[in-house]
């Protein structure tokens, strides 16, 4: 039993891109958090907060120089990868940033839709974008504490579909900064049917049909429960027809939780009405037994009545 909550071991992943920057030790990523967060998957809750924006402007100018130097040498970053959820916005912003950047930088005092610092950040971000990033394999974040949080099982009859969804999952997890394993293949299940071809006789002419179920597992580590929630919900919202997903979640609870739940349940049973609940929880075997005993009583009573009548007569 884990005595500590996962949030004490890993920083709460409110702004997922700061988590990423910490692990990859790349200053240029800090400059892209503001731009990326607007397009990020898990930013619906944290996107409204301006704490990131307030901290960014002082570092943006310095990080822009380092960004230019390091952008070509370093691995393509995963930020821009999962564009499937918002197809129009990344493309639109990527194309618009080069146009808006030269206008904004020479005249920062002019009232523009974007503030000058945002425009600079957009430009730096756009310069580092690797187009077609989503086609390449996703970056897998390294585990910080190797604490397993979830298991994602995928099943499909069609391998290309399965691989596509796995690719999508890896990019989604990468964008959220969630460390996941590479997909592990479980043994393929094969169901075979041999049927006679014709509707009548001709036993020797038969045909084989099969149905293969391919299975893959991905393990999720070291993220905040909220982030894992978001990832799972995102995958559920963008599920692929022909691929089934099953999620096993592990929640960390403080020591003494077992005793507490038993007490809570006992209290509930006593308060609500134990008798009513007990009746509902009766299994069919118990119902049969009760009914049987009732029948015995009825039949015994009927038997005694009939014997009494005979004696009288």
């Amino acid at each position: 039993m884990y005595g500590l909550c996962a949030t004490t071991l890993t920083r709460p992943c409110r702004s997922v891109f700061t988590f990423v920057s910490r692990t990859r030790i790349s200053t240029r990523l800090q400059s892209t958090t503001v731009a990326g967060s607007d397009r990020g998957i898990g930013s619906s809750g944290s996107g409204g907060k301006d704490n990131k924006k307030s901290s960014k402007p002082p570092s943006s100018s310095s990080s822009k120089d380092t960004a230019a130097q390091t952008s070509r040498k370093q691995k393509p970053k995963p930020k821009h990868s999962s564009a499937s959820s918002e197809p129009p916005t990344p493309a639109a912003s990527a194309t618009s940033t080069p146009a808006s950047a030269p206008k904004a930088t020479p005249a920062p005092t002019e009232p523009v839709a974007l503030t000058p610092t945002d425009a600079e950040l957009e430009a730096s971000f756009a310069s580092q974008v690797v187009h077609g990033r989503s086609l390449l394999a996703a970056y897998h974040h390294p585990r910080t504490h190797s604490i397993p949080l979830a298991l994602l099982h995928f099943r499909s009859h069609h391998l290309p579909l399965l691989n596509l969804f796995l690719h999508f999952t890896s990019h989604a997890a990468s964008a959220l900064g969630v460390p996941i394993t590479r997909p592990a293949s479980l043994p393929t299940q094969r169901r075979l049917w041999t049927v006679i071809k014709g509707p009548f006789v001709h036993k020797k002419a038969q045909e084989n049909f099969e149905r293969k179920t391919h299975k893959r597992v991905v393990k999720v580590y070291d993220a905040d429960q909220e982030v894992v929630d978001r990832l799972v919900r995102y995958l559920g919202r963008h599920e692929l027809a022909g691929v089934g997903m099953r999620v096993v979640r592990w929640h960390r609870a403080p020591v003494g939780v077992g005793r507490k739940t038993v007490e809570v349940m006992a209290r509930e049973v006593r308060s609500v009405g134990g008798a009513a609940q007990a009746v509902e929880a009766q299994t069919s075997a118990e119902k049969v037994k009760k009914l049987g005993e009732q029948i015995i009583r009825e039949e015994a009573a009927a038997a005694t009545k009939s014997t009494a009548k005979e004696i009288v007569i």
């Binding site: 009859h157 069609h158 075979l192 049917w193 049927v195 006679i196 071809k197 014709g198 509707p199 045909e207 084989n208 049909f209 099969e210 149905r211 293969k212 179920t213 069919s284 119902k287 049969v288 037994k289 009914l291 049987g292 009732q294 029948i295 015995i296 039949e299 015994a300 009927a302 038997a303």
Partner: protein
């Protein structure tokens, strides 16, 4: 419109589901060695009054397309010929001609 035999089978399934517990209760009484013979006898007579659409032996897997009672593949509720026709047409998800 499905086959009349399929309809009868559906009726039997509904009847069995509705009366299963009552039947089992009477059976429990009728087969109980510790009870007096008269009670057991009465229970058995009561059991005989149940109609055929309450007996689980009446239930039989049938092909939903043709109503055939033999050569049924339970997973699809189809006879072997219907299964083959639908599989070749691609109407059964994941089912392909096997080759190895």
């Amino acid at each position: 419109m499905p086959n009349i035999r399929v309809l009868r089978d559906i009726k039997a399934r509904h009847g069995v589901n509705a009366n299963e517990i009552t039947r089992r209760a009477y059976l429990y009484v009728a087969r109980n060695q510790t009870l007096p013979a008269s009670v057991r006898y009465q229970a058995q007579l009561q059991l005989n009054t149940f109609g055929r659409y309450t007996r689980p032996t009446t239930v039989k897997n049938r092909c939903h397309e043709s109503g055939r009672g033999r050569g049924i593949i339970g997973e699809f509720a189809l006879s072997r010929y219907q299964f083959r026709m639908k599989a070749l047409a691609g109407e059964l998800p994941g089912v392909v001609k096997a080759s190895w």
